[in-house]
Symmetry: C2
Subunit: 189 residues, 2 copies
């Protein structure tokens, strides 16, 4: 019987190797060879799944957002919009070494946003998605539709700012989570 290849799994493995290269050398340090070495796979296999370095780098950003969404959905155990808001906005906060590595890769993409239009518009769209979901949950929790958009923008800024404080070690994870939670509570009133 022919061996069944899990293509999604192979793509994921390549993307994980890409992230470790970005973490070590930045986005501009990405080459097929560096990703192959980091992943212990052949350059040929990467080329089979990704036509170009650019496609691989873009795919890395898309996977990162998809993983965050999956993580958020998995934690979404309640139908309480306030608890869902806290889960959504504390999800990016790095609470361990792996989380800090993920955030550093995300910042590498942010750093490229100023000079790479695709990355900028991808990050804009992704952040806009988070703001939209925040707004929806705020309204579900009873925040009036006229004030929900500004509150959503503010809460996403707080979440991103606290993530940055954790990245540089200014605050610890518990304090960060408490800060975001307090802001959600205050927004809902």
């Amino acid at each position: 019987m022919p061996k069944v290849i899990d293509h999604a799994q192979r793509r994921r493995e390549i993307v994980w190797a890409l992230w470790s290269v970005i973490h070590e050398r930045g986005i501009d340090g990405v080459t097929f060879q560096a990703v192959a070495t980091a992943g212990g796979i052949s350059v040929g296999r990467i080329q089979h799944y990704f036509e170009s370095k650019e496609e691989l780098i873009r795919s890395g950003a898309e996977h990162m957002v998809a993983e965050a969404e999956k993580h958020y959905r998995r934690n979404e155990t309640s139908s309480d919009p306030q608890a869902e808001l806290v889960a959504l906005l504390t999800q990016p906060l790095p609470t361990n070494e792996a989380g800090r590595m993920g955030v550093s890769v995300w910042y590498a993409y942010l750093a490229k946003a100023a000079s790479d239009p695709w990355i900028r518009s991808f990050l804009e769209e992704s952040t806009r998605g988070t703001v939209g979901e925040t707004r929806r949950l705020l309204e579900e929790a009873g925040v009036p539709p006229e004030s929900a958009p500004a509150q959503a923008l503010r809460l996403v800024a707080v979440s991103n700012g606290v993530t940055q404080s954790l990245l540089v070690g200014l605050t610890d994870p518990d304090e960060g989570v408490a800060l975001v939670t307090a802001e959600v509570d205050r927004a809902i009133g």
Copy 2:
């Protein structure tokens, strides 16, 4: 008469060239040759002022903080702590292409914080300085000393989060400044 060399100016020119290399290729793309080409100067001159690539990269971070502080001091025309707070916390917000480039270089350093202990501790110290100054101004504006530290942490997170929103084009500068100003007003009450 011998020519008087302005060493501080020469160092600044090298650092500006460094920033443009970081903007284009990331921190891992920095070499003396790349900085020399970007600045239209010789590798020898760079080596005269900086012993190693690491020293140059670290100096680039220090210059960035020093410039921000100078900019903040220059704008500090009032003795009104509330206005000073707004100036301090809106200062990093990119309002034009040059500002966006500066922020992208800052994000390149942030991205390296997870893997480079010197950069991480430098960014921690620098952010802690901003939080300390915010706290001092909050107390000067009448915020009780027991709530000032938490408020300062929150306001700096908002400033950093709004900076990120501007970087990806989620909000425009006016909206970003309004958001930070409203948070300052609310903190002071």
